[in-house]
């Protein structure tokens, strides 16, 4: 998977929320084989001394700060600048949420923020609603990849609109397309990849499973499997059977 000219051998980008413990998170990250991990920006608590969350991440992981929690382009831009200053990375997972109940992205504000951040030299990976026209505009704005959602964040419903992703892949063959949010189990990730995604970003499906490290391994394998199946070129679907052994020479 190529992002801004950088090659990643893993097609899985992993999150850091909802784990029951830091140890559990670390073992899941380990098992997933992910090379990139996304984290959120928050105010430092002033009342208590806070340990640095970053110390719990495997240092070999590429950190991808996100603008989670921002509801306007302006807040997302400010958050992005702070993240870059603190981490010295141009990589950014852009999120501008439109509604607190569904956490659906605000495509319009996302595009506005993307235009500003690209100008400022950020490598923008925008999370957005699976809309081909918006995908084109985000790419025209200079985003390094497009990150359509599969289903509502944390819903675990899997790819709700395969036609949208297939069309996006066919119409934007050169874009790096990473399915973000909504995957619930291994087959969901495989399906996303079979539709032509270059990668998948997920958090809840792993963190909220009963055994995150095991589910992380499952996701790792499912993403590889889905990609290989996409490349291998699947058989056509048929309503009717087709024999897999010669029809002649049966004993009578």
């Amino acid at each position: 998977m190529i992002i801004a000219g950088r090659q990643f051998s893993s097609r899985l980008i992993i999150g850091t929320g909802k784990y029951r413990s830091y140890e559990q998170m670390r073992s899941a990250h380990e098992a997933s084989g992910a090379e990139m991990v996304t984290i959120a920006v928050r105010r430092v608590p002033l009342d208590r001394s806070s340990e640095s969350f970053l110390d719990y991440l495997n240092p070999s992981l590429q950190i991808l700060p996100n603008t989670a929690g921002c509801y306007t382009a302006e807040d997302a831009v400010r958050t992005a600048r702070l993240a870059r200053e603190a981490l010295q990375t141009d990589l950014l997972k852009l999120e501008v949420i439109g509604d607190q109940t569904t956490l659906f992205p605000d495509n319009e504000q996302t595009l506005e923020a993307a235009r500003i951040l690209v100008k400022e030299g950020f490598v923008v990976l925008p999370y957005f609603n699976d809309d081909l026209i918006m995908a084109k505009k985000l790419l025209d704005a200079g985003c390094a990849a497009i990150m359509p959602l599969a289903a509502p964040i944390g819903s675990g419903l899997g790819v709700q609109n395969p036609a949208n992703l297939r069309i996006m892949r066919e119409q934007l063959p050169d874009a790096t397309m990473i399915v973000d949010a909504g995957v619930g189990t291994a087959s969901d990730a495989a399906i996303a990849m079979e539709l032509g995604a270059d990668g998948v970003l997920m958090n809840t499906a792993i963190a909220e499973s009963e055994d995150p490290a095991k589910m992380a391994t499952a996701m790792k394998l499912a993403i590889e499997a889905g990609r290989l199946a996409y490349e291998a070129g699947r058989m056509p679907k048929r309503l009717y059977a087709s024999a897999s052994s010669p029809l002649t020479g049966v004993i009578r």
Binding site: T16, I39, R42, L46, N66
Partner: protein
């Protein structure tokens, strides 16, 4: 002097941003600071004078994706 730090009004006896961090006893590693909605580069913390009513945001990183 009164400044707003992460939204809270605080009475402080300092003059620079760097002193504020010290007074707040924050880990300086991997935090970032915004003064009146503009990022202040780490290299400028020492030379950045604060004035009354300044709004300072100090952020770090936490686990999580969307919300």
């Amino acid at each position: 002097m009164k400044v707003f730090v992460n939204g809270e009004l605080r009475e402080v006896e300092i003059t620079t941003l760097a002193e504020l961090i010290t007074e707040l006893d924050l880990p300086v590693a991997r935090i970032a600071i915004e003064l009146n909605r503009e990022v202040v580069r780490r290299s400028e913390w020492d030379s950045t004078m604060l004035k009354d009513e300044d709004r300072i945001e100090i952020v770090h990183f936490v686990g999580g994706g969307k919300n």
